[in-house]
């Protein structure tokens, strides 16, 4: 799947859609960006004063920008920050990203906690999950696992540091891709759940929000460029298999044809009206781990998808057309 282009060069970059066709210099852009995030948080009452905020830090551009902006705004909002990084156990990828997070933590002087799948989930690293779910001719679906497990891991990490809220760096492009993807895959459960600026925290979970949700990816990249932030920009080794790539490709096409498409999709997602609980909720970490431990990793995934396949009854010798994997952002 295509990834975002590296930041532009010396001359004033084209103004991101958010500001309209006015030209701004780097400093004004950054100030406007920070004001935007502040407005989002304040208007949505996302992070009340006194909140201890766990920032999901992956080392990538979104969480780096998020942490930086929140640090700038922290005095005004009256919040304190803790960095929580998740180690999924993906060799050759996560270790390098974690190094970036550690550098950032040192630079910002923020406490950093790393939680590892291997510790939390009985030794299951993502590489082990990928090996387990690799089937004959089937796609691996490891992204589905990773997303759900990361959400749980972030929750655990946040509790460890005594946080009251969790924030993640999802930007508008992420949200737009998610809604496209959920429709294409018929994931009514996730459609019904997602969309707003954050979840209040069902069933005892900590409240989560996404302060960058209205910022487009271009803006995030530009902000990181102007503030000279150090982040890790390679994609996960499993990403090429993810279904999200199709949604991302579509989003890029739509954006090229009509720049407002990204925010229009976010707007659409916020206003979807689905029949209440027509489907059971998306399987959680426990269900997935259960399947893994029993040696039947597709147990929890397969159930949710079966009714949607129109491939007809499986025939002998024909590989079952399994649901394509997705990279679900953990939120």
């Amino acid at each position: 799947p295509p990834r975002s282009a590296p930041p532009a060069t010396r001359r004033a970059p084209p103004p991101p859609p958010a500001l309209g066709p006015r030209a701004v210099c780097g400093a004004c852009f950054c100030a406007a960006f920070e004001a935007e995030v502040l407005h989002t948080v304040v208007a949505g009452r996302l992070l009340p004063p006194g909140a201890v905020v766990a920032v999901g830090a992956s080392g990538g551009k979104d969480s780096t920008v998020l942490a930086h902006v929140l640090q700038v705004l922290a005095p005004r909002l009256g919040i304190s920050l803790r960095l929580v990084a998740v180690d999924e156990g993906i060799g050759g990828y996560r270790d390098a990203a974690l190094a970036a997070v550690r550098r950032q933590a040192a630079r910002w002087e923020l406490p950093l906690t790393v939680v590892a799948y291997a510790d939390l989930f009985g030794g299951w690293t993502m590489d082990a999950v990928a090996r387990s779910t690799a089937g004959s001719g089937r796609s691996r679906a490891c992204c589905t696992f990773c997303g759900v497990l990361r959400r749980r891991a972030l929750e655990e990490g946040a509790r460890l540091v005594g946080a009251t809220h969790i924030v993640t760096g999802h930007n508008a492009d992420d949200m737009a891709e998610t809604v496209l993807m959920n429709f294409l895959r018929g994931d009514a459960a996730r459609l019904a759940r997602g969309g707003g600026l954050g979840s209040p925290g069902e069933g005892g979970a900590l409240p989560r929000c996404r302060p960058l949700q209205l910022a487009s990816q271009k803006e995030v990249v530009l902000y990181a460029h102007f503030r000279r932030l150090d982040y890790f920009s390679e994609e996960c080794v499993y990403a090429p298999e993810a279904f999200r790539g199709h949604a991302r490709h579509l989003l890029k096409l739509l954006e090229a044809a009509r720049p407002s498409a990204v925010l229009d999709l976010v707007h659409s997602a916020e206003r979807l009206a689905l029949a209440p609980a027509a489907r059971p909720p998306a399987p959680g970490a426990c269900a997935l781990l259960d399947g893994l431990n029993r040696g039947r990793p597709r147990l929890a995934i397969g159930k949710g998808r079966r009714g949607l396949d129109e491939a007809g009854p499986p025939r002998d010798g024909e590989p079952e057309r399994a649901p394509a994997p997705e990279a679900v952002p953990a939120f």
Binding site: P17, A18, L19, G20, P21, R22, A32, A35, E36, H39, V179, L180, F183, L184, R185, G186, D187, A188, L191, L214, H246, L250, L253, L254, A256, A257, R258, P259, S260, A261, L263, D264, L265, V266, H267, S268, A269, E270, R271, L272, A273, L274, A275, A278, R279, L308, D309, E310, A311, G312, R315, G317, E318, R321, A324
Partner: protein
């Protein structure tokens, strides 16, 4: 997967190559006939079973929704394309069956000639019309051919949403059917042996004689050159293909509504197939219409109140339609559309269509998956409170506004015209000088002081929204949600662009009205990213109470 039928030159009875070597080559349903078509993955049907399957689906969709009452007048919207042609054919055949299973409504056909919007020459249009009339005469229902130019004649009452009784209960439907059957029985079995296309023996079905299918408006009068010119100008002034497409749909809908109301039709059937609706859902999503998906793609669309639009073909895929039409010689007429031969990236609609069809190749259940999800969408009132009075509605698509009108303020002087983006008309767009009168009249009568949604970077000055007092046009008052002072916000197109934080919206007024041919300067409805333009001509507004 579907080698059968790819080559249309082959006769239908030719045996397809087997899906797997050594596989039995028989219809999966009856196990006897030779299969001629593959539906879904691996289900090969013979000709008769396919026909039964297709017809059954059509009737099942109508039957399970129970919205079409016996004896009701239903207008079939026919574009000439394969899906709507198939729909017309199904209705034709359905009406001719033996009485127990006969379809029970009274059909008419409407056909909109959109040639002017698509840039067709008068000769091409005439040729197409001739072909269409041939088919219409064969079908035999009362028909109405209307040129798109007639939008310029529409009265503003087209945009009224007549409050309607809630959908009849199950009991009422059953009672209606029972009483209808009883009446039929009393009249005797006259209709059973008649010619297949007519049920003239039954007095309840008050059809006009099919030899004279013209409506009193004499559709043979072609549109004037000036009207055609005006329509061309309207479409030329809309910059993007996406916006043109949305504008065309809005105007087409208004016109069909008008025909339906004028001739007493309470239902309109459109031929949207499963494939088209899946694409439409994704397109609407990308255009910001997430709040209205259930109306845009569901079986019934009752946003107009008295006329309900239904989509009986929504479970038929385009592939099934194409095969059926080919195998059973359903006539259709090809007309170029607005985006015929347009490059793939020309509009959101084209992009989405190409993407979905490509993805469908790779994941054959894509279309049906999207369709199944669309069935789970509900028509939720905006704030979840059904009892509250209906809010303001969009001028063009007639849906209740989904933008947050709470933070609206009045336009401040000195707003510049910068930052006007290109917007799809479904949400906003510049309606240029040549906009149809009915679209201009409503704003003029209502939109005195216009609200401005300030861009997200500069918080709105928070002046209270000043209600504009209606100057006596009851219909428009209903159009914006009930009696009483009307908010100018009602006129804003619905919030396709996201929340109020992102856009500025201003409705400008025409300086004067000169009549149909050349309406005055712009009644512009646009949303831009920057601050709102200074509205002009407001001093001519009749409402003295508006702050300057």
């Amino acid at each position: 997967m579907c080698q059968v039928g790819e080559d249309y030159a082959e006769p239908a009875s030719e045996e397809p190559p087997p899906r797997q070597p050594g596989r039995e080559q028989k219809c999966v349903k009856c196990k006897e006939g030779l299969p001629v078509v593959v539906i879904r993955a691996g289900d090969a049907f013979c000709r008769d079973c396919f026909k039964a399957f297709y017809i059954h689906k059509f009737r099942a969709v109508l039957g399970k929704n129970r919205l079409i009452f016996p004896g009701e007048k239903v207008l079939l919207a026919w574009s000439g394309g394969p899906s709507s042609s198939s729909m017309v054919w199904q209705v034709l055949e359905g009406l001719s069956r033996e009485s127990a299973k006969r379809l029970r409504f009274v059909p008419g056909i409407v056909c909109i000639d959109e040639g002017a919007a698509c840039g067709l020459s008068p000769e091409a249009r005439a040729k197409t019309l001739a072909e269409m009339k041939l088919i219409l005469q064969t079908v035999g229902f009362p028909w109405h051919v209307v040129a798109l130019e007639e939008v310029f004649d529409l009265p503003p009452s087209v945009l009224r949403c007549f409050a309607q009784e809630p959908v009849e209960t199950e009991g009422a439907y059953k009672a209606a059917v029972d009483s209808f059957l009883q009446q039929q029985h009393v009249l005797g079995a006259e209709g059973a042996g008649d010619s297949p296309s007519l049920a003239q023996g039954e007095e309840q079905l008050s059809w006009p004689c099919t030899q004279d299918p013209q409506n009193p408006q004499s559709p043979d009068r072609p549109p004037t050159a000036a009207q055609t010119e005006a329509l061309s100008r309207l479409f030329d002034s809309v910059k993007t293909l996406t916006a043109k497409e949305e504008l065309l749909q809005a105007l087409r809908t208004h016109l069909i509504l008008h025909v339906a109301r004028t001739h007493g039709y309470s239902k309109v059937m459109t031929g949207d197939s499963c494939t088209r609706l899946a694409i439409k859902l994704m397109t609407s999503l990308a255009l910001g219409r997430g709040a209205f998906l259930a109306w845009d793609t569901g079986f019934s669309d009752e946003r107009h109140g008295d006329v309900v639009v239904v989509r009986p073909m929504r479970e038929h895929t385009l592939k099934e339609v194409a095969f059926y039409n080919h195998l059973f010689a359903v006539p259709s007429v090809f007309t170029p559309a607005l985006d015929t031969k347009a490059p793939e990236k020309a509009s959101i609609h084209r992009l989405m269509e190409a993407f979905m069809l490509r993805l469908q190749d790779q994941f054959p259940s894509t279309v049906s998956t999207v369709y199944r999800t669309s069935e789970k969408l509900v028509k939720a009132p905006r704030d979840g409170c059904a009892a509250s009075p209906p809010g303001p509605r969009c001028l063009l698509c007639m849906c209740a506004l989904d933008i947050d009108t709470a933070g609206l303020c009045l336009p401040s002087p000195g707003c510049s015209e910068e930052g006007i983006g290109e917007w799809v008309l479904g949400f906003s767009s510049p309606l240029v000088p040549s906009a149809p009168l009915y679209l201009q009249t409503v704003p003029r009568l209502l939109g005195l002081r216009l609200p401005c949604i300030c861009p997200r970077r500069s918080p709105p000055p928070h002046r209270p929204l000043h209600p504009a007092v209606l100057q006596g046009w009851g219909g428009c008052r209903a159009a914006v949600g009930g009696p009483g002072p009307v908010r100018g916000a009602a006129l804003l197109s619905q919030g396709g662009p996201p929340s109020l934080r992102h856009r500025a919206a201003v409705l400008r007024l025409p300086r004067e009205h000169e009549g149909l041919a050349l309406p005055g300067p712009p009644a512009t409805l646009h949303l831009g990213r920057g601050p709102a333009p200074q509205p002009e001509g407001l001093h001519r507004a009749a409402d003295p109470g508006v702050p300057g």
